[in-house]
C-alpha cells in the first residue's frame, strides 16, 4: 500500500462523490423548494444512464452531445411527471406524495427493463478522457477529473443561481415563506415546476456522466436512491454545501471501506445515515426545527 494507492483510492472516492453529489443536490433542491421527497430520483438517474447508452452507443452520437441530450430528455420526463401527476397532490398529505413518487419508481423500473432488457450495458469513455494524467507514481484517470470538475461547476452554478439571480432569490424566499411570495405576484406553480425540472435535470446529468464509470444495469435505481437519501440526510435537507460535504464523506467512506473492510463497506452509508439521524437529524449543515419529536 503506497501513497499513490491511497491517493488513487481517494480520487476514486472523489469521483463517486461527484456523481452522488449531483443526484443528492437535485433531490435536496426539489425537497427544499417543492417539499416533495422524490423517491423516483434514483430511477431517473438510471434513465439518464440508459439514455446516454442509447445516444452514444446505439445511435453513435458523440459523447459530448449524448450527455446533455440524455439530461434534457430526463428533464422532459420530469416535467411531464410534475405537470401531470404531482400538481394533483400538492395539497394532500405527505403520504400521498411519497406514494406517488414510489409508484413512479416501480413504473420507470419496468419500463426501462421493457426497453433495454436486463443485461449489463456499458458506455465507453470518450477518447479525450479515456487516458490518465500522471504525476510521479500517481495516476489521475482523466475521467475522474472530468466528473469532479462537473460536480464543482454544478455546485458553483447552483450557488450563483440561488444567490445572485432574481429568480434564484425568489426561490430562496419561497422556501422560507410561501404565502408571502405568492402575494408578491410570482406564479408559484411554475416556480415549483422549474425547480423540479432543474433538480431532475441534474439527476439525469449525473446518470449521463456516471454511465462510463461502471456498468449500467437495472437495480442501479434501487441502490442509488438509498445512497442519495443518506447523502441528503447527512448533509441536511436543503443545504447545498451540506450535500457536497456529505457526498464527499460517503464517497470516501465507500472507497476506503471497499478497500479495508469490504464486508461493512456496503452498510457504511446506512450506518452513517442512521448515526446522523439519531444524533443530529437536521444533518451536518442543515437547520434544526424540522422532523424531531
Amino acid at each position: 500500500m503506497t501513497v499513490a494507492d491511497v491517493i488513487g483510492q481517494f480520487l476514486s472516492g472523489l469521483a463517486r462523490a461527484g456523481v452522488l453529489f449531483l443526484i443528492a443536490a437535485g433531490l435536496s433542491f426539489i425537497f427544499g423548494v417543492v417539499k416533495i421527497v422524490n423517491f423516483a430520483h434514483g430511477a431517473l438517474y438510471m434513465v439518464g444512464a440508459f439514455f446516454t447508452y442509447s445516444f452514444a452507443v446505439t445511435l453513435g452520437v458523440p459523447f459530448w452531445a449524448s450527455v446533455p441530450l440524455a439530461a434534457v430528455c430526463v428533464a422532459v420526463i420530469g416535467l411531464a411527471m410534475e405537470v401531470l401527476l404531482f400538481r394533483r397532490v400538492y395539497g394532500r398529505p405527505v403520504a400521498d406524495q411519497l406514494l406517488l413518487t414510489f409508484a413512479m419508481v416501480l413504473i420507470i423500473h419496468d419500463l426501462v427493463r421493457l426497453a433495454y432488457g436486463s443485461n449489463l450495458k456499458s458506455v465507453p469513455r470518450p477518447p479525450l478522457l479515456a487516458g490518465a494524467v500522471f504525476l510521479g507514481d500517481i495516476v489521475f484517470p482523466s475521467y475522474y477529473i472530468f466528473i469532479i470538475l462537473t460536480g464543482l461547476a454544478v455546485l458553483l452554478g447552483f450557488w450563483a443561481f440561488l444567490h445572485k439571480t432574481r429568480l434564484g432569490k425568489t426561490i430562496r424566499a419561497a422556501v422560507g415563506n410561501r404565502e408571502m411570495v405568492a402575494c408578491l405576484g410570482k406564479p408559484l406553480p411554475w416556480l415549483f415546476t422549474a425547480a423540479f425540472v432543474a433538480g431532475v435535470f441534474v439527476d439525469g446529468l449525473a446518470g449521463a456522466i456516471g454511465a462510463p464509470l461502471g456498468g449500467i444495469r437495472l437495480g442501479m435505481d434501487f441502490d442509488i436512491i438509498i445512497l442519495a437519501f443518506a447523502t441528503v440526510i447527512v448533509g441536511g435537507f436543503g443545504s447545498l454545501p451540506g450535500t457536497a460535504l456529505a457526498a464527499f464523506i460517503i464517497g470516501e467512506a465507500y472507497a476506503f471501506g471497499i478497500w479495508f473492510m469490504p464486508a461493512i463497506a456496503l452498510s457504511l452509508p446506512f450506518i452513517i445515515m442512521a448515526a446522523v439521524l439519531i444524533v443530529r437529524p437536521w444533518g451536518l449543515l442543515g437547520r434544526s426545527g424540522g422532523g424531531e419529536l
Binding site: 394533483r88 405527505v94 403520504a95 414510489f102 409508484a103 413504473i107 419496468d110 452498510s267 424540522g290 424531531e292
Partner: protein, 323 residues
C-alpha cells in the same frame, strides 16, 4: 363490516379447502400471511400516523429467526414461532427507539435505512444467514405438511391476531395513538409521552410482522435476504393503500387483491412492477381511500339518498300535519 358479512367471510374461509384446488388454498395461505403483515403495518400508519418504509425488516427477522431455530437448532415449529416474535419485537425495540424520535419524512427514511442495514447484514453473513442464498429446506411439522392443514393453522393464527389487533386499536391505548396522529402537540398536552406510546406501537407492529414472517418460513420452505429489504417493505404499504388505510379490513382486502393479482399476472407478464406501480398511481390519484374507502362512500351515498327519499315521501303523505 356488518355482522353478516363477517359470518359469511368466516364460512367461506372455513369451507375453502373443501371446495377449491390446492393452488387456490396455497394462494389463500399467502393472502392470510400478507394480510397479517399489512395489518401490522396499518397499526402504525392509520393507527398512529407513522408511515414506515422498513416494515419488511421485522417480517424478515421473524422469518429468519424461525428458519434458523427450526433448521440449525432443530426446534419444533411452535416455540420457533414464539422465538421469531420475540426477536422481531427486540429488533423493533432497538430500531424503533431511534425512529420514534423523528417525525414525518425523517421517520420514514430512518425506518428505510434500518431495513436496508439489516438487508446488508443478512446478505453478507454467510455463516449465520446463508448470505445471498438464504436458508433452505425449512420443514414444518408432519401434521402441517399438507396444504389444507397449514391453511387451517394459518387461518387460526391470523384470525386470532386480527382479533387482538382489533382490540388494541379500539382500546384506550389505540385511542391515544389516534390522538397522536391527529395532533402530536395536543396529545402531549393531555399528559401523554407520545414517544413512549409510539415506541410501544412500533414494537407491537414489529411482533405481528415477525409472526407473519415466521408463518411464511415453513410455508415457503426457504428464506432469502430479499424478505428484509425495503422493496419487500413496500408490499404492506401498497396493500394497505389499495384496500383502504382508513378502515380496519382495508389491509386484508388489499392483501387479497394484491396477492391474487400477483398470482394471476405472473402467468401473463413479467412486468409486475409496472402493473403494481400503475395501480398504485391510479389508486393514489383517484381512490385515496382505497377500495374499501371507495365502497364506503358509495354506500353512504346510497344510504343518504334513500333516507332523503324516505323523508320526502313522508312529507308528501296526506296525513302529514300542516305547518
Amino acid at each position: 363490516m356488518k355482522r353478516w358479512s363477517l359470518v359469511a367471510l368466516a364460512v367461506v374461509a372455513l369451507a375453502l379447502p373443501q371446495v377449491a384446488e390446492p393452488i387456490v388454498v396455497h394462494t389463500a395461505i399467502e393472502i392470510l400471511i400478507m394480510a397479517l403483515f399489512a395489518m401490522s403495518f396499518n397499526l402504525l400508519f392509520d393507527g398512529a400516523g407513522l408511515l414506515t418504509f422498513g416494515h419488511g425488516c421485522y417480517y424478515g427477522v421473524g422469518a429468519y429467526t424461525a428458519a434458523l431455530l427450526m433448521t440449525e437448532v432443530g426446534m419444533p415449529m411452535f416455540p420457533a414461532v414464539i422465538g421469531a416474535m420475540v426477536m422481531a419485537g427486540l429488533a423493533a425495540l432497538v430500531f424503533g427507539y431511534f425512529c420514534v424520535r423523528l417525525t414525518g419524512v425523517y421517520f420514514s427514511i430512518l425506518t428505510l435505512a434500518f431495513a436496508q442495514l439489516m438487508f446488508s447484514v443478512f446478505q453478507q453473513s454467510y455463516t449465520l444467514t446463508g448470505g445471498d442464498l438464504g436458508i433452505l429446506d425449512i420443514q414444518p411439522p408432519a401434521f402441517l405438511v399438507a396444504v389444507n392443514s397449514y391453511y387451517y393453522f394459518t387461518l387460526l393464527v391470523v384470525g386470532v391476531s386480527l382479533w387482538l389487533l382489533w382490540r388494541i386499536i379500539h382500546s384506550p391505548f389505540g385511542r391515544t395513538l389516534h390522538a397522536s396522529r391527529d395532533s402530536v402537540v395536543r396529545t402531549q398536552f393531555i399528559g401523554i409521552n407520545v414517544r413512549q406510546y409510539r415506541l410501544a406501537a412500533f414494537v407491537i407492529a414489529g411482533v405481528f410482522a415477525g409472526l407473519a414472517g415466521a408463518l411464511f418460513a415453513p410455508f415457503n420452505r426457504a428464506v432469502a435476504p430479499f424478505l428484509v429489504s425495503w422493496v419487500k417493505s413496500s408490499d404492506p404499504v401498497l396493500m394497505t393503500l389499495l384496500g383502504g388505510a382508513g378502515t380496519f379490513w382495508g389491509p386484508v382486502v388489499g392483501a387479497a387483491v394484491f396477492t391474487t393479482l400477483h398470482a394471476v399476472a405472473i402467468g401473463y407478464t413479467t412486468y409486475w412492477l409496472l402493473l403494481m406501480g400503475g395501480i398504485l398511481l391510479l389508486g393514489v390519484l383517484f381512490l385515496p381511500g382505497g377500495i374499501l374507502g371507495f365502497l364506503e362512500e358509495r354506500f353512504r351515498g346510497i344510504a343518504a339518498a334513500r333516507a332523503t327519499r324516505l323523508t320526502e315521501a313522508r312529507g308528501a303523505s296526506p296525513n302529514a300535519s300542516a305547518d
